[in-house]
C-alpha cells in the first residue's frame, strides 16, 4: 500500500531528483562486525558550503552514549558540515545500513553545476575511509570505489 503510494507520488512529481548516488557497503568478514556510520555530501567545485545528502548512524541509541556521540568519527564530514546539521534531519539522516547497495537521490533543488561528491564511512572496531569523486548536476554517469570500508559508488542520472 505504502509502496504504490510512493510510486504514484513520484510519477506525479517527476523529476524528483537530479540523479542518484548508489553507495555500496562491503561485506567484511570479521568476528565482531558493526555496520558503519556513513555520510554522503557534496561541495561546489568553486567553493561553498557542503550539503549533506545522507548520514546513516545509530539513530535509535539513547542514554549515556547516544548514537550521535560517534558522529565526529566521520571526521571530514563533521568538519565540512556535519557539525552544523541539526539531527535528525528530514530526508537526510537515517539508521545505519547493512552491507549491500543503497541508493540516495540527489535532491532536485541542487543547482546545476560542478561538485565534488564525498562518501565517508567509519566503523566501530574497524576502519574509516573517505572516497571523493567529481559530480556534475544534472548527473551523468560516474563511478568510483573505496578500498576498505566502502565498495562501489555509482552516480546515475536517475
Amino acid at each position: 500500500m505504502k509502496k504504490s503510494l510512493a510510486i504514484a507520488v513520484s510519477v506525479i512529481a517527476a523529476p524528483a531528483s537530479a540523479g542518484t548516488v548508489t553507495v555500496t557497503i562491503p561485506r567484511i568478514a570479521v568476528a565482531e562486525y558493526h555496520v558503519p556510520y556513513v555520510a554522503v555530501w557534496i561541495e561546489p567545485k568553486a567553493g561553498g558550503p557542503a550539503r549533506t545528502l545522507a548520514v546513516w548512524y545509530d539513530v535509535a541509541k539513547r542514554g549515556n552514549e547516544p548514537g550521535t556521540k560517534w558522529l565526529a568519527d566521520l571526521r571530514t564530514w563533521w568538519r565540512k558540515g556535519g557539525r552544523s546539521l541539526k539531527l535528525p534531519a528530514d530526508g537526510v539522516s537515517g539508521a545505519t545500513r547493512a552491507p549491500g547497495a543503497h541508493r540516495i537521490a540527489i535532491p532536485a533543488n541542487v543547482k546545476p553545476g560542478s561538485y565534488t561528491l564525498f562518501v565517508e564511512a567509519a566503523r566501530e572496531d574497524g576502519g574509516r575511509e573517505l572516497v571523493s569523486m567529481p559530480l556534475t548536476v544534472p548527473a551523468g554517469s560516474a563511478k568510483a570505489a573505496g578500498k576498505t570500508e566502502l565498495g562501489a559508488i555509482v552516480v546515475k542520472s536517475r
Binding site: 550521535t68 556521540k69 571526521r75 568538519r79 557539525r83 552544523s84
Partner: protein, 313 residues
C-alpha cells in the same frame, strides 16, 4: 652535571631560560566532540619531549576552564601521579572551549646595603588570581618553559655569589624600601588547549590587547594534516613580527628526530604551520621585552604554549 650546574647558575641569576628545559604540556583525550554530554580527560606533565610522562607531574590547581559563552567551567577528578597529573572537564555547552593555566610573577635580584637579594622563588597565577599559592610547581611559570624556579638550589656553583636563603623574598611587595640595583623580570605565561563541541566558535579568541596573545586564523580544533594551520600572534594588540614559534609533534620516542619546526611570524604576526602527520602538537613561543606592567620590573618575559590536535584528512 655540567648541564645541571649551568641550570642553577642561570636560574639563580634569573637571566635566561636554559635550552634543555623540561617542557610543560597538557594532553587532552580529544578536542572534537559531537555533543555536549561528554568530558575530556587531560594529562598534565613536564618532560623533555612533549606528552611523554617521564619526568614530573604538573600541578593542576591553577587550571582554568573558559566555556564558549564566556562563563568559567571547572575541572573534576584532579589527581596527581608520579609523572603526570590528570583531570576531567565536562564539556556541556556547544562551541569552542579554552582550558589551561595562566601564570605570572616577578623574579630577579636586588641589593640591600650591597648584599645580594632575590625575589620570586614562588610562582603561581598572577596576583589576586585563584589558587595564588604557587608552591611546588613542576618548573615554574606555568607556561611551556620553566622560569627560574630552581632558585632554591644549593647556591650557585661555579664561583657565583651564593644567595643567603634569608635574602629571598616571595613577592615584589616584600622588597624593602631601601633596595637598590633592582633587576626584575615580570613573567607572564599561558599554557592551554581547545575543545569544540558541535560547531566551533571564536568568541574566546578576541584579543584583549595585553601581553602575548594567540589569535587563530585556522580554528585550533579544525586542523587537518593536509592543510596548513595559520595563527597570529599579538603583543599588546600589535602584530608580533619575527616571533620564533616552535612546533613539536608528540610521539618523539617512536622517531629518529624530534621533528621540531622552528618558524617565524611575518610582519603581520602570522605563522603558517605545515603538519607532517596527524597527531598532537606542542606549540610554544616566547618573547622578552622592556614593557613590564609593574614599574619595579625592567623586563617582561611572555610565553605562550598550546596543545593542538591535527586530524588526518
Amino acid at each position: 652535571m655540567i648541564a645541571k650546574s649551568l641550570f642553577f647558575t642561570t636560574a639563580a641569576l634569573g637571566l635566561t631560560v636554559p635550552a634543555f628545559a623540561h617542557n610543560q604540556w597538557l594532553l587532552p583525550s580529544t578536542t572534537v566532540l559531537s555533543d555536549t554530554q561528554q568530558s575530556v580527560t587531560v594529562d598534565a606533565g613536564a618532560s623533555t619531549a612533549p606528552f611523554e610522562p617521564n619526568h614530573n607531574a604538573l600541578s593542576v590547581e591553577g587550571v582554568k576552564v573558559w566555556a564558549p559563552d564566556g562563563s568559567m567551567g571547572a575541572i573534576e577528578n584532579a589527581a596527581r601521579s608520579k609523572y603526570r597529573s590528570t583531570f576531567d572537564v565536562k564539556i556541556d555547552k556547544p562551541g569552542t572551549w579554552r582550558i589551561g593555566m595562566e601564570n605570572g610573577g616577578i623574579s630577579g635580584s636586588f641589593k640591600v646595603d650591597g648584599e645580594p637579594w632575590m625575589v620570586g622563588r614562588r610562582r603561581g597565577p598572577p596576583a589576586g588570581g585563584p589558587g595564588a599559592a604557587g608552591g611546588a610547581r613542576a618548573g615554574g611559570a606555568g607556561a611551556g618553559r620553566p622560569g627560574p624556579a630552581a632558585a632554591m638550589g644549593p647556591g650557585a656553583p661555579g664561583g657565583r655569589p651564593q644567595i643567603d636563603p634569608s635574602h629571598i623574598v616571595a613577592s615584589v611587595d616584600d622588597i624593602p624600601a631601601n633596595a637598590t640595583d633592582l633587576d626584575l623580570t615580570e613573567t607572564v605565561g599561558r599554557n592551554e588547549f581547545f575543545v569544540s563541541a558541535g560547531e566551533p566558535s571564536d568568541a574566546l579568541f578576541k584579543p584583549t590587547g595585553r601581553g602575548l596573545e594567540f589569535v587563530p586564523v585556522t580554528l585550533p580544533t579544525d586542523l587537518v594534516s593536509n592543510e596548513p594551520g595559520q595563527f597570529r600572534f599579538l603583543v599588546d594588540g600589535q602584530p608580533a613580527a619575527g616571533l620564533e614559534v616552535e612546533v613539536i609533534p608528540g610521539g618523539r620516542r617512536y622517531r629518529e628526530s624530534d621533528g621540531t619546526q622552528k618558524l617565524k611570524t611575518d610582519d603581520q604576526g602570522m605563522v603558517t604551520v605545515q603538519w607532517p602527520m596527524a597527531g598532537m602538537y606542542w606549540l610554544n613561543a616566547s618573547l622578552t621585552d622592556a614593557k613590564p606592567g609593574n614599574p619595579k620590573a625592567s623586563k617582561r618575559r611572555m610565553s605562550y604554549t598550546a596543545t593542538l590536535e591535527v586530524l588526518a584528512p
